[in-house]
Amino acid sequence: MTVRRLAWALALPIALFVLWDLAVRQRWVVEGIIPAPAQVAAAWYTWIFGTATTSLSPYSGTWLANVAHSTRRVIEGFLLAAALGIPLGVFIGWNRAVARAVDPSIQMLRPIPITAWLPFAIAVFGIYDASARFLIGLGAFYPIVVNTTHGVRDTNLLLLRAARMLGAGPAAVLFKVVFRSALPSIFTGLRLGIGVAWTAVIVAEMIAVKSGLGYVLWDAYYVGRMDICVATMFSVGLLGFLSDQVILRASRVALRWRALEAHG
């Protein structure tokens, strides 16, 4: 990136930050409706590191614990979704009988947004981790299973024939050809899935569980701590970004041959 493009790229964010800061300091907006960047930074700092003196703020030093709660739920739900979604997707894509038995039901349940299942989850699983795990797992399950199915179905017929004429049996065809060829699509599903997982964990924690970043977000809103609200949003954004990068990196390693293909 050239210096000029970098300057352009940074122009708007910096302008926005300055505008944001000015708006609050000069009281262009009604006081208290939005915290200034410095205020958010300070609140975030205290939230992470606590204060030397004992503080009355319930948020002091609790950041890590809340991040840990949310992250654990996301990982659990996501792994559950992947463990169910990938094999099921392979079966649906590979075997027409399985596809006919299972696929329509998945397609019919898919338009129901996960938020609509939330009260049901609370009713059945109660205000516990299980509710969150159910929601996250369900949310991440759909993109994973759908993309896996597509990947398997789109396996090039010629490659299947090539494998068979070279003497590959069903297991070799499935693992050495079909699975490998579906892998790019599976990774796309995993990336979409992790995005949904973070959305789901926020909703679940806002309503159904009493810990984690989503809980803090809603709690801070209720007591009017907008600085903590914004700090939470950026925290979740950061975690979402990092987890996406992890999957992206993993996919680059696993799909090295494909990067070459794209560059020609």
Binding site: L10, P104, P111, P119, F120, V203, M233, L238
Partner: protein, 272 residues
């Protein structure tokens, strides 16, 4: 058609359900049967509180109760009004911005960094801020829905506009197209499939967001009804509410799909 073996399977499965609708119905009946079996098993063994386990019959009863009380009609109307208005608002802004950013590099360089910065934040995390800013009434719900619908539409529009086949651009140039004609007759047309994909995704997200706002801060709408039913432990009503939301999502999704099929008749079959 993925495998040779699949072709052989299809011959055998052919007798079972010839039309796709018959197969879908069969699959659904299967799900209902399994559900009913679980309920009966629970009655026999009692692995969970039967009050928490909805039954197919219960859901049907819940539906008729809601119709009889006249609340279903109002709930659907409220939710539809909010989601459609919010979605249209968000999508319109997104298509306009996406087209500008996709065709003018300067605009993209300008818009991209802040949007990229905000994108990893799950849209639902903005909900408290929106309620805080726009109050608990209709505006906050509609704006929030619009905001959530914006991102998928915007991202897809940019992609579609930016990655128009350069060969088609060249062809149009050498036939004498001006830049206005190029955008209207080539770029927009070529980007249309991707824009429609964005609209579909955007609608899904918008609906998810709307239900969240209705769960948390509302006194009408399908999401509100589900939450209220939870307070009275009407599990049947809750499941019916979820199915109702799914039905609306499916219907509008199908409408978009039908529009897509009509607008994109020119696309080769194998590109779906």
């Amino acid at each position: 058609m993925a495998t040779d073996t699949m072709v052989m399977v299809s011959h055998r499965a052919g007798r079972l359900g010839r039309s796709p609708w018959a197969r879908r119905a069969l699959s659904l009946i299967g799900v209902l049967a399994v559900w009913q079996l679980i309920v009966w098993a629970n009655e026999a063994v009692g692995f969970m509180n039967p009050a928490l386990l909805p039954t197919p019959a219960g859901v049907v009863r819940g539906a008729s109760e809601q119709v009889a009380e006249g609340i279903l009609y109002l709930d659907v109307l409220y939710s539809l009004y909010r989601v459609v208005l919010g979605f249209l608002l968000g999508a319109a802004v997104a298509v306009v911005l996406g087209c500008s950013a996709g065709s003018v590099r300067l605009i993209e360089d300008f818009l991209d960094p802040p949007l990229e910065m905000l994108r990893p934040i799950p849209p639902l995390a903005w909900l408290p801020l929106f309620i805080f800013w726009f109050g608990i009434g209709e505006p906050s719900k509609i704006y929030f829905t619009a905001f959530v619908a914006f991102f998928p539409v915007y991202v897809n529009t940019i992609e579609g506009v930016k990655f128009t086949d350069p060969l088609l651009r060249r062809a149009a140039l050498s036939l004498g197209a001006t830049s206005g004609q190029m955008f209207r007759l080539v770029t927009l047309q070529a980007a249309l499939p991707q824009i429609i994909t964005g609209l579909r995704l955007g609608f899904g997200m918008a609906f998810l967001a709307l239900v969240a706002t209705e769960l948390i801060a509302s006194n009408a709408g399908l999401g509100y009804r589900i939450m209220e039913s939870r307070n009275y432990f009407k599990v049947d009503w809750m499941v019916f509410g979820a199915l109702m939301i799914g039905l609306i999502g499916f219907t509008i999704g199908s409408l978009i799909r039908a529009g897509e099929a009509r607008l994109l008749r020119w696309r080769p079959r194998d590109e779906k």
